[in-house]
């Protein structure tokens, strides 16, 4: 088990290297650059060749790209420093750290929401295959897949405002002071984000349950005289949920993408908002910083999912 863990952690290094190179390059290949934007948007900066070179020198953008990369990476490795925002002159690391808890809360709530809704419905749908309940469950799943979250989010903000003059809460209070009020801000966006995840999870759960319920050992369990609910929970779900857990790992990028949109709609100051602003400003260090943090997070979650696999599947657990 330990050896396996070390091996997996070592495998993270090349993944991170390639991810960082891609992140770094792609942003710089994009048309439009920060210096242009700065000069155009600020009345105090003269639009001269000299001024431009000065800014580039200050920001380190005058150097060749590979040198920029080395500087960026060594800053991260040796100082834990993700760089400084080109626009606001603040530490990228601090900016991200401040917003991570917000986005994390929303993402976790969304995933939790998805699982709590989807697994029971998926199991029910499979156990009652081709009954009315199954059709209703599946219809909701397709609805959840078909309705885009940006549309649903917009509707939830706009319609109640028009009809009743009500809008969802957006003001964040510190979690430690009023945890419930803090969480209340996230409930609606998390539910919207969770709905699309729930749809996928439900279908996956249903498929896996149907597959498992056909297995010989389910027949053995029934032949022992087990009640059907025990057959389902003790014998079937355990085996059916292993692949569903992996799905949660795959959710993370979707969740992060979703938070960018929903944070925007619900005016929640999370990492998504920061990213959106940074892209508009071509604020390279912020963008690359966020991508890197997200990348590391996704890799770690996938690692955790693999490890949780072991907890559920004895065959994997013992081989490590």
């Amino acid at each position: 088990m330990q050896r396996y863990l070390v091996r997996r952690l070592l495998a993270v290094i090349p993944t991170l290297f390639f991810a960082s190179v891609i992140v770094f390059l792609v942003i710089r290949i994009l048309p439009g650059d920060a210096v242009d934007l700065m000069i155009k948007s600020s009345p105090f900066i003269e639009n001269t060749e000299e001024m431009r070179r000065q800014i580039e020198l200050d920001l380190g953008l005058d150097q060749p790209m590979h040198m920029q990369y080395v500087r960026w990476v060594s800053g991260i490795i040796f100082h834990g420093d993700l760089g400084t925002s080109l626009i606001r002159d603040t530490s990228v690391g601090a900016e991200i750290a401040e917003r991570v808890p917000v986005t994390m809360t929303m993402g976790l709530l969304a995933v939790l929401f998805a699982l709590v809704i989807a697994i029971p419905i998926g199991v029910y749908s499979a156990v009652r295959q081709d009954t009315l309940g199954d059709y209703v469950g599946r219809s909701f799943a397709i609805l959840g897949l078909a309705v885009p979250s940006f549309w649903l989010g917009t509707m939830v903000v706009i319609l109640p405002a028009i009809w009743w003059g009500w809008s969802p809460p957006t003001r964040l209070v510190p979690f430690v002071e009023e945890p419930l009020r803090y969480l209340s801000v996230f409930v609606i966006p998390a539910a919207i984000l969770g709905a699309s995840l729930a749809a996928v999870t439900m279908r996956m759960t249903r498929t896996m349950m149907l597959e498992v319920l056909r297995q010989d050992y389910i027949r053995t369990a029934r032949a022992k005289g087990l009640e059907e609910w025990l057959v389902v929970t003790r014998h079937a779900m355990r085996n059916a949920l292993i692949p569903v857990i992996t799905l949660v790992g795959l959710f993370i990028p979707i969740v992060i993408g979703g938070t960018v949109i929903l944070e925007r709609i619900f005016v929640i100051p999370g990492v998504g908002q920061l990213l959106l602003l940074a892209v508009q400003d071509r604020d390279y260090p912020v963008i690359t910083g966020i991508f890197l943090v997200v990348g590391v997070f996704v890799i770690l979650v996938n690692l955790m999912v693999d490890l949780s696999y072991g907890l559920l599947d004895p065959k994997v657990r013992d081989q490590k």
Binding site: T220, K224, R238, P314
Partner: protein, 326 residues
């Protein structure tokens, strides 16, 4: 002697794509307390479906027990509620399945699975069930049962898994054990050990045993009586020795001729039964075996033969008298 299990005119059909597959079509047989009865036949002859019908484990849909009676210890299982049948399954009638590889749950320990019937039927605590399970594993001669009970099925060999299945079936000391091809998936060397163990333990506990098999060697060695099945019907039934010495149905004769014998003349090649088992959704007219039967006469095409007495302990369903013809 009264029968422990009486199956009367059992019909189990499967519905698929608009056609009806008559997997079991009017089967009757008895199992007396403590005896070993074999059900023998080719794949698709309805052996397994018969066994699953007894425990009412036929998946519905697509399967359905159309009619018949399954009397176990005086009660008709087909008229019991699901809850009442559950109290019998694993408790008074236990089943051993064909594939030890897939018949055990991969994510539960062997010990947990073996002890589970005790947990449910005797309302034993998990600890209590575990202790009894160790004793059971010991009984089926799994070495080091305290350790092995903690293992998962994939850590067991096929033979060990089937021993665990036997332990599981014995857990509640059932009156009847149905073993569906218990050794088909095992190595030949292990087959004999497992069957021997099964026979020995049922004799010890006084349980009746129904062995479902396609292997006449198994029948000859372990069964007191035999039911030969073909295309969802029993075509011949009787004492094992009687059936082997005096087979009356051409299919039974065919099965025996396709079996290698140590005491037989090596110069004679084995004679396989020509043709294929019939399509159960579209049976031939008359006797189902008639298209493959070398003795078939006109009458065989016209009307299916019923089981009739050869002697009080031996019934066969054939229009032709083999002694006269052969």
């Amino acid at each position: 002697m009264t029968s422990l299990l009486e199956v009367r005119n059992l019909k189990t059909y499967f519905h698929s794509d608009g056609s009806v597959v008559k997997a079991v079509d009017g089967v009757s047989f008895d199992v007396r307390a403590g005896e070993t009865v074999a059900v023998v036949g080719e794949s698709g002859s309805g052996k397994t479906v018969t066994a699953l019908s007894v425990l009412r484990l036929i998946p519905d849909p697509p399967g359905e027990i159309i009619s018949g009676e399954i009397r176990f210890a005086g009660r008709d299982l087909l008229s019991l509620s699901e809850a009442e049948v559950r109290k019998i399954r694993g408790n008074r009638i236990a089943m051993i399945f064909q594939e030890p590889m897939t018949s055990l749950n991969p994510s539960l320990t062997v010990g947990r699975q073996v002890g589970e019937p005790i947990e449910i039927h005797q309302r034993a605590s998990r600890k209590n069930a575990w202790d009894k399970c160790i004793a059971l594993l010991h009984k089926v001669r799994i070495p080091d049962p305290e350790q092995r009970a903690n293992a998962y099925p994939y850590q067991f060999s096929g033979g060990m898994r089937q021993r665990a299945m036997i332990a599981m079936s014995l857990a509640c000391e059932p009156e009847l054990i149905i073993a569906d091809e218990p050794t088909t998936a095992l190595d030949v060397t292990v087959q004999a050990q497992v069957l021997h163990l099964l026979k020995e333990l049922t004799r010890e506990t006084g349980a009746a045993l129904v062995i479902i098999t396609h292997d006449l060697g198994v029948v000859a060695r372990y069964a007191d009586r035999v039911n030969v099945m073909y295309a969802g019907r029993i075509v011949e039934t009787g004492q094992t020795s009687e059936i082997f010495n005096n087979p009356k149905h051409p299919y039974t004769v065919g099965l025996m001729n396709s079996l290698p014998r140590l005491d037989g003349d090596v110069r004679f090649a084995l004679q396989p039964i020509e043709g294929h088992p019939p399509d159960l959704a579209n049976l031939p007219s008359g006797c189902a075996f008639q298209p493959r039967c070398q003795y078939a006469v006109d009458r065989c095409l016209a009307k299916p033969p019923e089981l009739s007495e050869v002697n009080p302990e031996h019934l066969a369903a054939c229009w032709v008298d083999l002694n006269v013809t052969a």
